[in-house]
Symmetry: C2
């Protein structure tokens, strides 16, 4: 948290993270090549259904064969051309230049739990997402360096859908300073949202063109289908030079084959189809490979996250992304219904899965509960603790002669202690990660302070963060610039989302 | 859990685990060599204090220089000879041959939270360990395949210390069937404990000699000191062909230098000293390298676990262990005071640290709270969930043509589902890890069932496990064989622990 940083002397660098670990593998290179080839076969022989006529026209113009009106058979040569023109990296721009990140393989970027229809906290309970909770969860995101890009944690359901994007964009532009998220809910909303970024941040054309200012997430309707808003989003984001994160949501055993390899073949085919649509719309458009495969619970049919299969999917997705040379998006998450050990374990497991798969962008990294049906305030803060610990692990471990501490070892007698050693005194303020929320005091002291669990302790912290929250300096001027546009568009009834 | 396995059709293999991941590095090979050399310098120039005369005599006979009566300067040639004679692997024997494991680099062996003076559960609260809780926590360990070796989870403090080892060994021999733990609390207790294993399991000399039947954990008194019972334990275990797990407990900033590299140099020097004592006692005696370095919380001075520094120590320890070619022991753990998100996150982080460092034996892998001052029943079960998930990740991911599921992908229409696909029907019973404790149902169903957190759900599970617990088949005969010995020794007043 930026505020915490200023209170201590310890410098932290939680923004420009690079993966610290060697990526792992679950499949041989040969088998990965076989999976890639199988996905190309699926696209060619089985085809992908695009419900949007414009998408079919673009792909047909590129040489794809459209049959039965909506089914598009995409040849491997077209996919190959798309993979050749897809960029390997781009700059994610932000109101605050210090918050900008290169979206590139090897980078480690965290996004918050997103897309949640409900929110929950220990004080107010579980409730539908509202503008109030959207603003609150945005403030929580803005308050931690380790949350690198903004996301729609809570859905502001009390704002009518034709006006909702004005509220969400206004908040992101004026109350935060990180790379922004725009929902792909039709051309009108996308164009207005991107316009608001340019207007609010007062960007000229050159500035706008220098990098990427917004991302959207495109979920295919697995298996083998893109609905109208999703295909429209790919097209419109590509045309505008903004990034689509193509993320098939392949739940093995439900919307995807039950085997790890089979679900990945389907995911890969769908992701390649989305990437191809982006590139055939505008070669060189930024587009991210994405994987969010996990398994369903075979007892209840519910999605599961942070499972062994989820981790395997993450590692396999990383292999496929590296096979095609693109940065990729993964996700953490939890199916748990409360901020308890299950939720913590699932999310932490999935974070490690993303590390093992060397995911570029990890969405749902903090706050996700109920498989995304709820955003938990207390869970968010506990998850941020894990993300900060991961960020600390990204820092190279110093390896000088002074780090060997030979003088200190000689200085302290057997059975003594190092608390007062000169080596300790020189370093103790910088030495270790100071926890955000973890209580490391002993049982007696902890009991004297109310014996609060970590979820209970988090309540006081989010209350304090929200009470002290200050929008970034550029916010007021940006709000002024946006006011007339929002008023006029609102008076005109807004822009309805695409069906 | 063995019982669960029989109830489902899904086969699991949680015993013979091998590490699934490439070990990671935090230091260059050159720097690791420098650290090893620095540790040898410490042993030679600064020396190691051995409070036990017998240890000093053994090391002196091997060529070490003893000064000031208790300080032993160990030359690098002596350490080199010890590392040459230390075995690279040995068989951990058990009453049940299916529970036996090779202790060797690349194997992944889990031990429970151990050495706890207190126990806690949601029904009965926190209380001092007793024989009752020792037996209960032993039954919990015995009930899960993924707990591979027994450990003293709870200290039976209501049994007088001269008799306590009889109770602990009787329970391990008659109520469990896994490799056993013996405390190093003096020669008399060690000899009697090992005698009880041979007697209880009716082992002849040949059987006894074929592998290792018991392990102990040797903690040096960092910095640079071994007390009398610890040195005695190394000597007596080496003589008996049983394994000492040499584990300096180097808390960086307290009993060790504050830098990661410095604490590891001290750890390495102390571990090498213990290994050397074992090998000079009996060349070829099984002895494990060990590392349990973590940091202290600089605010409270308390030990911290599952921190970024802890993970770095684990990775660095693994590098040092591989440098000398020995299998090694790490530890998970948590400083948390309750079975909450903090405790889950810390323990899960440390489990992953052990995976990244490719630790052979991971102690405190389930149930540890308060930095070891308490064993939590509910935490144990939640941690076992993580261990079982790790065990599932150790299983190779199938990679056949049938796993590609091309027929299933062709069979299911766009927007359809795979629930009824032939590929799914053939596989669904085996496909995914069935959770032990995680509740994957939706919020409504979870609420209807009482809205229980995972710690609360665990209460019902441990009650059921304890209610249904059956000692292994060999237990009754073993108890008969032990009865007279225990009665006679008890009548004679037992054997007091060594000061």
């Amino acid at each position: 948290m930026a505020r915490h940083r200023k209170r201590t002397l310890r410098a932290t660098e939680y923004i420009g993270l690079r993966h610290p670990f060697t990526p792992q593998v679950i499949f041989s290179d040969d088998y990965i090549a076989r999976m890639h080839d199988a996905a190309l076969d699926v696209l060619e022989a089985q085809g992908m259904k695009f419900l949007l006529p414009e998408a079919r026209r673009i792909l047909a113009a590129a040489g794809a064969r459209v049959v039965d009106d909506e089914m598009v058979h995409i040849g491997r040569d077209i996919v190959g051309a798309a993979l050749a023109s897809a960029p390997r990296s781009w700059r994610m721009r932000a109101a605050n230049p210090d918050r900008e990140r290169d979206y590139v393989s090897g980078a480690l970027i965290f996004g918050p739990g997103a897309g949640c229809p409900n929110v929950t906290d220990l004080e107010r309970g579980r409730r539908p997402g509202s503008l109030e909770s959207y603003l609150e969860t945005l403030a929580l995101q803005q308050s931690f360096d380790v949350i690198h890009m903004l996301g729609p944690s809570a859905e502001p359901q009390d704002v009518p859908t034709p006006l909702r994007h004005y509220a969400m964009m206004q908040a992101q532009i004026t109350r935060a300073d990180k790379p922004m998220f725009v929902y792909a809910r039709g051309r009108a909303q996308i164009e207005e949202s991107l316009h608001m970024i340019r207007l609010g941040l007062d960007l000229d054309q050159a500035d706008w063109d220098r990098g990427v200012w917004a991302y959207t997430v495109i979920n295919s309707n697995s298996p083998r289908q893109f609905d109208r808003p999703m295909a429209q989003g790919i097209i419109d984001f590509a045309r505008a030079g903004q990034v689509s994160v193509i993320t098939p949501f392949c739940l093995a055993g439900a919307m995807a084959p039950i085997s790890v390899a089979g679900a990945l073949v389907l995911q890969h085919a769908e992701a390649l189809a989305g990437i191809t649509l982006a590139q055939m719309t505008r070669p060189g458009a930024p587009v991210s490979y994405g994987g969010f495969a996990s398994n369903v619970d075979m007892k209840s049919g519910s999605p599961a996250f942070g499972t062994p299969e989820h981790v395997k999917f993450q590692i396999g997705s990383g292999q496929l992304a590296r096979h095609i040379g693109l940065p990729w998006r993964s996700a953490s998450g939890s199916a748990g219904n409360a901020a308890d050990m299950q939720a913590a374990q699932e999310t932490t497991m999935a974070i490690w899965g993303a590390l093992m798969g060397q995911a570029t962008f990890v969405i749902h990294a903090a706050g996700w509960l109920e498989g995304g049906l709820s955003f938990g305030y207390e869970k968010f803060l506990n998850d941020v603790e894990v993300l900060q610990m991961v960020a600390e692990m990204c820092t190279p471990t110093p390896a000088t002669e002074d780090d060997l501490a030979l003088d200190a070892i000689a200085e302290v007698a057997p059975g003594g202690h190092f608390f007062a050693a000169a080596h300790t005194m020189r370093r103790y303020e910088q030495a270790f990660y100071p926890p955000l929320l973890a209580d490391l005091t002993n049982f007696g002291s902890w009991s004297d302070h109310g014996a609060l669990r970590s979820d209970q302790r988090a309540t006081a912290l989010w209350r304090r963060i929200l009470a002290e929250f200050q929008p970034p300096p550029h916010g007021a001027a940006a709000a002024d610039r946006l006011a007339a546009f929002i008023a006029a568009r609102t008076a005109a009834g807004g822009a309805a989302p695409q069906d």
